[in-house]
């Protein structure tokens, strides 16, 4: 994997590239859902959005979650909606690779695993970084 991180080109001079770093686990708090709402809103404003999942957040991508049994919305559906907003690739902290790799065929997003050096590159290459 290259250490160069490709960032979507800006649409015009007023647009900014935005990196959302999400670290919370799926059902620990509403944080992931609220962070993804920010992503979808900014994408609707045609901003270039990148999402990086670290710590426990990559576990939200695991398929077949029965979230309705604990009266929660499905994380799988939320992540499935991202490609419709041109957020095709998710950056994932490489520590989660072994956990997610067996489920790649069931995950609707393109996963780009990044190590600590590449995460630093991501942060450096975006205009705005927000952590949730």
């Amino acid at each position: 994997m290259s250490s160069e991180i490709a960032v979507k080109p800006h649409h015009n001079s007023e647009d900014k590239s935005i990196l959302l770093i999400i670290s919370r686990s799926a059902f620990q708090s509403p944080t992931i859902k609220e962070a993804l709402d920010v992503a979808l809103t900014c994408a609707a404003f045609e901003q270039a959005i990148s999402i990086l999942l670290t710590d426990n957040a990559p576990l939200a991508l695991l398929p077949n979650q029965a979230s309705n049994e604990i009266a929660q919305k499905s994380m799988n559906n939320l992540f499935s909606a991202l490609p419709m907003y041109d957020i095709d690739t998710l950056y994932i902290d490489s520590h989660a690779k072994a956990i997610l790799e067996p489920y790649h065929k069931s995950i609707p997003n393109i996963l780009n695993y990044v190590n600590q050096q590449q995460i630093a590159g991501l942060i450096q290459s975006h205009d705005i970084v927000q952590r949730f």
């Binding site: 709402d37 920010v38 404003f45 705005i128």
Partner: protein, 130 residues
Amino acid sequence: MLFSILIYGSPFNSPCAQTALRFTQAALNAGHGIHRVFFYGDGVFVGSHLNAPQRDELNIYQVWTDLANEYQLDLVVCIAAALKRGVLDEQEAKRHEKAHFNLAPPFQLSGLGQLADAMMTSDRIVTFGE
């Protein structure tokens, strides 16, 4: 430099709302501008005027209100995050048939588009989480 502030941590479980207030005061004192303060997640509780802390404790609602009135700050509370946490202005209380409301100017409810606008407009957006 033009800043916007994003507060999403709880004012009761973390010092983020106080830290954000001190940062905002410091930025204003240094001659910078504040485009918008956006309250999201549990940060929306800052806007509830029903907060009634003990007299020897900081009233986070009051200090933000005082600062906003002094500098005419734009304090925007995310409407979706606020409604599900029971933070409503008079209009939303009527719409949802609630007996009371707890949010009023200088705080105002609005959508996430205001946060997106703040990102596009400001030179820096500084986030205060948990």
